[in-house]
């Protein structure tokens, strides 16, 4: 069995190499057959070049006004020649660009640059994965951004480029540490499993596994384990489409439930060879600091706390007040630990060109960013991208090869200092002593910079290659096959030398540890397809059938090395006296499917699109491996109806579309249906232990997601106002979940299908307006708005299940049940809570009944693009209406040895006080401690975290060609997270996990040269 699949994987890989080799001896020759000239003896010749401002445009049609028979087109390098009369008027027309008319006035050379037609986006082809579709004829819900949007943003993560720009796509940054990644949710949370909501990523047709490649042994600086998505270089992306509804996603079957992110990388273009390079650099800082207590208020709080607890003799460990530390000292720990400036450098270059038959693109990218933490840390990313396209002379054979290779080196401190920056006592001692060594202040100060002796380093190499061969057998019938291969190698080390720790522990290098995580993931995919398009009277039909074979093998080995003869030897694993395996995992995932599509378009007004897929996955147990998914989409282009054209003149486009169908979700990990023992990495008597892998359940199968969508797309005034109003309803059932179990079962969860139904409904609105558009000045606005609601529709026997205290029918999944805070007890000054069941005791099970919804109520973005001659200004405001945990949730109890927000000074001191914070206590009164914990778990711990943020601003200037000649020069200034308007009291309202570095404010400037 294994041999069979291996040989196939090998074969697919051979094809790829072969393809590349074959291209190298394909003829690369210019084909000027499209260049024509019309001869008129009474006229003179005019010639010139048509560009889009920077690139030559091929295939621009040029006609003479009033002479419908005289027409030509530009060649691959944008050149044209035409015979004209001196008084003629030339008309330059090209899809997606504004038509321009030019008076010849006897000239013999007319060079012209066409402006992109901002209102003709309906003609643009949208990539839907296995097929592409004209935007106006699309039956599904697909959002798109292009390289033009991406290049304005100083970001290195592909998910960041979409933030605030797409309706229905909610993206949150995990932390401001380089490489820490983003969370994405497309149309809400479908699965009860936190890790079961990832979309399917497809890069040039190759599925890209997004499962984390880190390990909790090594990934300690970021809230989430390292994500492979970091490998994708935004600069290589030509367009990025997000498929949302059933019509668009059902063809991805079992993997389409959470939406599909299609990434199309840049391709070589026909034309003269062009070189382009962009260099940018900039810096970043924390967006804002929290207002914390200063030393006097802090010490006052501590002393009062001990007095309240009846303690006059300060305990041995109370160094801040017992005389060991200087009571007059003050350090702004936020400034000291997270107040640095990070730097950004990016160099991107590309070379492209080619003939009508063969085109190529080579590009390289280097980026480097540092951190705001003390110490020299950096994240370096290098990347190479190659694309080759070739078509035979008769255009029947086409070959396309794309390869990308990314190497990353992320070097970080082993911890994020944000929590320390907020909580260390303001009178704590200096970080370094007089000799410049880490100061442990005679063992009294647990110096956070001790950890700077350690380091986190992750090296990732990622190769993605794919090639597509197609052959048009007879007209309209195309045989096609794509081959993809991806290879990811990740090596992450976490070095913990003995010098990280207080020397009082007496640890030497023999106690130093190094954890290493090596993750490898290889996959291959073959997707043969046949498509057949034909006209049938006034209609046209497109059909597609295909199949997928995919295999992915992964292995992860986590080891621990210890016993070094010296800490300087730690980088060499061979110098560890002992090597222990912490965990070792090998998995094989196989996937196979058949899919098809039939699209019928009648009179360019009525369109029906049927898609389906039958999937099999090795992740499920015998008898549960196969399932079928499908969808029906339909669109009515009522704007093309004669009565609309004739009677509703202001309406330039009108489409009503809808879709209904099913998709699935198989993100449950491998081998979950087996009862197995796993090598645990624990060593005893020299024997490596075997431990039970999980509680097993052989009877689980697919999670299905039924999606319904209705949308209205309208264009007014020649599409200068274009609106899309969409409504969707997704229901997912037979949820695959790790059902939480009490610890008495030996484990904390069990994998099973749950008979619960989750519904996501929402309204998505996109409005695009061309406010001003003339040859000198244009102003375009894009607004997207999403209001989404997530609801648990049904859950049989919820009360008898372990979820009884987590979910409520009719409420979203992302709720938290909290105590209801009723104010201070005026006598004792301790927080009080509502005793919901009136039993006289406050218990989590009975009194945490107040429901707080942590999903955003609505979110969106407003983007403006202004163009004035050579100057272009873009800015994006992102807005989110939501509630989230407030600082109350993150700090320790007021009175203990941790600093507090300045507002905590408003506290109870004597009977009758009515203040927001309770009596100070040093931590020995367990009732006060419990009240404080409950307060954090009450409705007082959650508050409005809505914000409006100037997410991105970009100003660029194209130096006029008359100064630069053939060379194009562009200067730009860019900023990210520039301004934030919020009532939120914490450090930043955008976070998923508290206590990590918030997103940074980043400024960069760049120069782009093209010739």
């Amino acid at each position: 069995m294994n041999n069979f699949s291996l040989s196939r994987g090998g074969r697919a890989f051979c094809f790829l190499f072969f393809m590349g080799a074959m291209l190298s001896f394909s003829p690369v020759q210019a084909n000027n057959s499209s260049r024509q000239s019309l001869v008129n003896t009474q006229q003179h010749q005019v010639q010139g070049t048509v560009t889009d401002g920077s690139n030559p445009l091929a295939g621009v049609s040029i006609s003479i006004q009033g002479k419908s028979n005289v027409v030509t087109a530009t060649d691959y390098s944008g050149r044209y020649t035409l015979s004209v009369a001196p008084q003629d008027v030339l008309v330059f027309a090209y899809v997606g660009y504004r038509t321009q008319t030019v008076y010849v006035q006897g000239r013999t050379t007319i060079n012209i640059s066409l402006q992109e037609n901002t209102t003709q986006l309906q003609e643009v082809k949208i990539n839907a994965g296995y097929y592409s579709v004209k935007n106006s004829e699309r039956t599904g819900s697909i959002s798109k951004i292009t390289a033009k949007d991406i290049e304005k943003q100083p970001v290195t993560n592909v998910l960041a480029t979409m933030q605030g720009r797409m309706a229905g796509v909610n993206i949150t940054q995990n932390s401001g540490v380089p490489g820490s990644g983003f969370e994405i949710q497309i149309r809400g949370q479908n699965s009860l499993r936190a890790d079961g909501n990832q979309p399917l990523y497809i890069i040039d047709g190759v599925p890209y596994a997004s499962d984390a490649i880190g390990s909790f042994y090594t990934s300690s600086t970021t809230p989430r384990q390292t994500s492979p998505i970091n490998s994708i270089n935004p600069g290589d992306i030509e367009s990025l489409e997000v498929l949302k509804d059933a019509d668009a996603t059902a063809i991805y079957g079992s993997r389409g439930a959470n939406g599909v992110v299609l990434i199309t990388t840049k391709r070589g273009k026909e034309g003269t060879t062009r070189f382009s390079a962009t260099v940018s650099s900039g810096f970043g800082q924390v967006t804002r600091f929290m207002d914390l207590m200063h030393t006097p208020e802090y010490l006052q709080m501590r002393r009062e706390a001990y007095a309240n607890d009846g303690i006059t003799d300060y305990p041995a460990d109370a160094y801040d007040v017992n005389g060991r530390w200087d009571p007059n000292r003050e350090t702004d720990w936020q400034k000291a630990l997270i107040g640095g400036t990070s730097s950004y450098t990016t160099v991107q270059s590309s070379l492209s060109g080619g003939s009508a038959q063969t085109q190529f693109l080579l590009s390289g990218n280097y980026s480097k960013e540092t951190t705001v933490f003390p110490g020299d840390f950096e994240y370096v990313k290098g990347n190479m991208h190659v694309n080759l396209n070739h078509a035979s002379e008769n255009k029947k054979f086409r070959i396309n090869f794309t390869g990308g290779y990314t190497a990353q080196d992320n070097f970080l401190p082993p911890t994020d200092f944000t929590r320390e920056a907020l909580t260390i006592a303001p009178n704590a001692p200096a970080l370094y002593d007089a000799n410049g060594n880490v100061n442990w202040e005679d063992n009294t100060f647990n110096n956070p910079l001790g950890s700077l002796a350690g380091k986190f380093r992750s090296l990732t190499d990622d190769l993605i290659a794919n090639s597509v061969l197609s052959y048009e057998w007879v007209e309209g019938l195309v045989l096609k096959s794509s081959f993809g291969y991806s290879d990811l190698r990740h090596d992450e080390t976490n070095t913990q030398p003995s010098t990280m720790y207080n020397p009082a522990y007496g640890l030497g290098s023999e106690a130093s540890l190094i954890f290493e995580n090596k993750t490898n993931r290889q996959s291959w995919i073959v997707e043969p397809q046949i498509s057949w398009n034909r006209k049938m009277g006034s209609g046209k039909m497109e059909t597609l059938v295909g199949s997928t074979f995919q295999e992915q093998t992964s292995d992860q080995l986590v080891t621990m090395g210890s016993g070094f003869s010296s800490n300087s030897q730690m980088d060499n694993p061979g110098s560890a006296a002992h090597y222990a395996i912490q965990s070792s995992n090998q998995t094989v995932y196989k996937y196979q499917a058949f899919f098809g599509r039939v699209n019928f378009n009648w009179l360019e007004r009525y369109i029906v699109n049927v898609t389906g897929r039958r999937d099999g996955s090795s992740r499920f147990g015998p008898g549960k491996q196969f399932a079928t998914f499908g969808a029906l989409g339909a669109a009515w282009l009522f704007g093309n109806e004669a009565f609309m054209k004739n009677h509703v003149g202001f309406l330039s486009f009108g489409k009503l579309r809808g879709s209904y169908g099913t998709t699935g979700n198989d993100q449950i990990g491998d081998y979950q249906y087996l009862d197995t023992y796993t090598s645990s990495g624990n060593n005893y008597q020299g024997i490596s232990g075997l431990s039970p892998s999980r509680l097993f359940n052989p009877n689980f199968g697919w999670e299905t997601n039924t999606k319904l969508e209705l949308a209205l797309e309208t264009g007014f005034l020649e599409d200068r106002i274009f609106t899309t109003l969409g409504w969707y309803r997704n229901r997912s059932s037979s949820q695959l979940v790790g059902i939480p179990l009490p610890g008495t079962t030996g484990f904390t969860s069990l994998q099973a299908n749950l008979d619960a139904t989750v519904q996501n409904t929402g309204i998505e609105i996109s409005i695009r307006t061309v406010n001003i558009s003339n040859s000198n000045f244009s102003w375009i606005s894009n607004l997207n708005f999403t209001q989404a609601r997530n609801e648990l529709l049904s859950f049989p026997n919820l009360d008898g299940s372990p979820y009884r205290n987590q979910y409520v029918i009719g409420q979203p999944l992302n709720i938290t049940k909290v105590y209801h805070y009723t104010g201070l007890n005026p006598q004792t000054g301790v927080y009080q809570f509502e005793d919901v069941n009136g039993d006289g005791a406050i218990t989590a099970a009975n009194d945490r009944k107040t429901i707080k919804n942590l999903n955003p109520q609505f979110y969106g973005g407003l983007q403006n693009q202004l163009h004035y001659g050579p100057v272009q200004l873009d800015f994006l405001f992102q807005f989110v209406k939501q509630e989230n945990f407030n600082p109350t949730f993150m700090f320790g109890m007021p009175g203990t040895m941790t600093n507090q927000p300045a507002a905590v000074t408003e506290h109870w001191q004597q009977a009758g006080d009515n203040e927001p914070y309770q009596v100070y206590s040093s931590g020995v009164k367990s009732n006060i401690q419990r009240a404080n914990t409950r307060h954090a778990q009450s409705d007082a711990g959650i508050s409005d975290a809505s914000y409006i943020r100037l997410k991105n601003i970009s100003l660029s200037y194209d130096v006029p060609e008359r100064w630069t000649g053939k060379m194009k020069l562009r200067f730009s200034l860019q900023g990210q997270n520039m301004l934030t308007f919020t009532k939120y009291k914490g450090a930043d309202p955008e976070f998923k996990t508290a206590g990590f570095l918030p997103p940074l404010r980043i400024y960069t400037s760049s120069v782009q040269i093209t010739f």
Binding site: E510, T587, Q592, T745, F747
Partner: protein, 472 residues
């Protein structure tokens, strides 16, 4: 036009090639369609996993499943020598240790039901209990394990199950006793009164004693034998105030004079070759020593984490050799602090010198002394007590009455067994002395602190575990 010929030649070559590739792919698809293709998505087991049934058909893998439990016990949960284990946490919770840095909740007697420290003790214990139950079920179903191996493994698993439940009960009070791997049963378990838990512990231990061999299966006493189970049974009976049974079980161990001999040299008691050791846990890495040594030792003051409390240090009489040999003074010139130094090797020593000792002979003497005093055998009681006093360089006890002897035994246990798995706290608890001893010393002490809180997540997931312990 030569070029064009070349182009068309290339095109022909290309087309032939593409057609062949496509032919292959479509042929494969066609074949697949005909054969159903189910075989494509079948995967074998990865090398890193083994089915549960296969594990117990082979002695080596069955053994690996058992020793994994010891690794877990050593590294996590109640019995680990690291900071999170009972040796340190109950030392802080009672009056053995003073805190200078680190986590404060145990020291402040302010445990939170939602706190991770309590949840971790609970969950890791039941995880090991699951593994023990899986071993018991696995060897019972096994068709190819030899009887002797089957008995050995089953006996060890029963012993571990009893041991962990015993500690859980002493920390949390009434607890569920889990004897199956079936999650349908285990997710709805109820808490049992302590006497029922005790009966089940005794039942498991009696079964273990019946099947465990008398000799150690390993040279270094790192696997429990019959006498280890007897030693635990003696302690269980002492806590249950079943004096006769406690005394008998302790005698059963103490009579094994061929195996167990008191060490005259206090510096040898905690070495891995110690003849007083009944059962010890081996470190993971060759040359490593105990986590206890790492947890308690420090080389300069003030201590970074904790030090032995003044009240404990003052309880040693000046000529007590245990103060000399089992504690170490550290001074910064003005102040002086002491740390436990029963285990001395902090770092890797190339070849290990100390293992973490869970059961040792001295406790069995003290168990029998206390039981005998309760039985009225005052002479025997004093005899046992004095044996321990003599090894510490002390004279005979001057206690004469039963009550005085019992008090003397409790006092002796404090000095003999300090920082070993919470003996001090459990002694105060079982003899009803917690409030009297701890209230004057600890500002945060409440009498309801005698039991830890049941982890809040457990109550949320299984309401059968209600009610929460008093005071939380």
């Amino acid at each position: 036009m030569k070029n064009n010929n070349k182009v068309s030649g290339d095109a022909r070559y290309c087309s032939a090639l593409i057609l062949r590739i496509m032919g292959f792919v479509w042929g494969a698809v066609g074949f697949c369609l005909m054969t159903g293709c189910e075989s494509f998505i079948e995967v074998g087991l990865p090398a890193s996993q083994l089915t549960a049934t296969a594990v117990f058909e082979d002695k080596a893998t069955a053994n690996a499943a058992m020793v994994d439990i010891y690794s877990k016990i050593r590294d996590n949960g109640l019995l680990t020598g690291s900071l999170s284990g009972l040796s340190s946490q109950l030392g802080l919770y009672a009056d053995e240790l003073t805190l200078y840095g680190g986590e404060v909740n145990f020291y402040n007697n302010a445990l939170l039901p939602s706190g991770s420290e309590v949840g971790e003790l609970w969950n890791s214990s039941y995880n090991s209990i699951y593994a023990a139950n899986a071993v018991i079920a696995g060897v019972e179903k096994s068709t190819s394990l030899a009887t002797a191996d089957r008995d050995q493994l089953k006996g060890e698993a029963l012993f571990v199950r009893a041991l962990l439940h015993f500690y859980l009960m002493n920390c949390f009070g009434a607890i569920p006793y889990v004897r199956t791997t079936d999650y349908e049963q285990n997710r709805v378990v109820h808490r049992m009164p302590e006497n029922e838990v005790l009966a089940l512990i005794k039942g498991d231990l009696e079964q273990a004693i019946a099947v465990l061999p008398e000799e150690y299966v390993s040279a270094e006493r790192v696997r429990p034998n019959k006498w280890t189970a007897e030693a635990l049974l003696a302690r269980v009976n002492l806590y249950a105030e079943a004096w006769d049974e406690a005394s008998n079980a302790a005698s059963a161990v103490l009579n094994q004079t061929g195996l167990y001999v008191l060490e005259a040299d206090l510096d040898k008691v905690f070495l891995k070759e110690s003849t007083t050791t009944i059962w010890q846990l081996m470190p993971s890495i060759p040359g490593d020593n105990t986590k206890e040594a790492e947890t308690f030792s420090f080389v300069s003051g003030p201590p970074p984490l904790s030090a032995l409390s003044n009240t404990l240090m003052e309880a040693f009489s000046p000529d007590d050799q245990r103060k000399e040999h089992w504690t170490t003074a550290v001074t910064d010139g003005t102040d002086i602090w002491y740390h436990a130094s029963k285990y001395k090797a902090v770092a890797n020593t190339g070849s290990s010198v100390e293992y973490s000792i869970v059961f040792r002979l001295a406790e069995q003497y003290l168990i029998r002394a206390e039981a005998r005093a309760h039985q009225g055998d005052l002479i025997g009681a004093k005899e046992d007590l004095n044996i321990i006093r003599h090894t510490a360089g002390l004279a005979d006890t001057d206690a004469t009455t039963a009550a005085a002897i019992i008090d003397a035994v409790i006092a002796e246990r404090r000095l003999e067994l300090f920082t070993e798995f919470g003996h001090r706290f459990f002694d105060l608890k079982r003899t009803g002395r917690l409030d009297a001893v701890l209230s004057p010393l600890k500002a945060g002490w409440n009498s309801t602190d005698r039991n830890f809180p049941i982890p809040e997540s457990e109550l949320l997931l299984n309401p059968n575990l209600e009610p929460q312990n008093d005071g939380y």
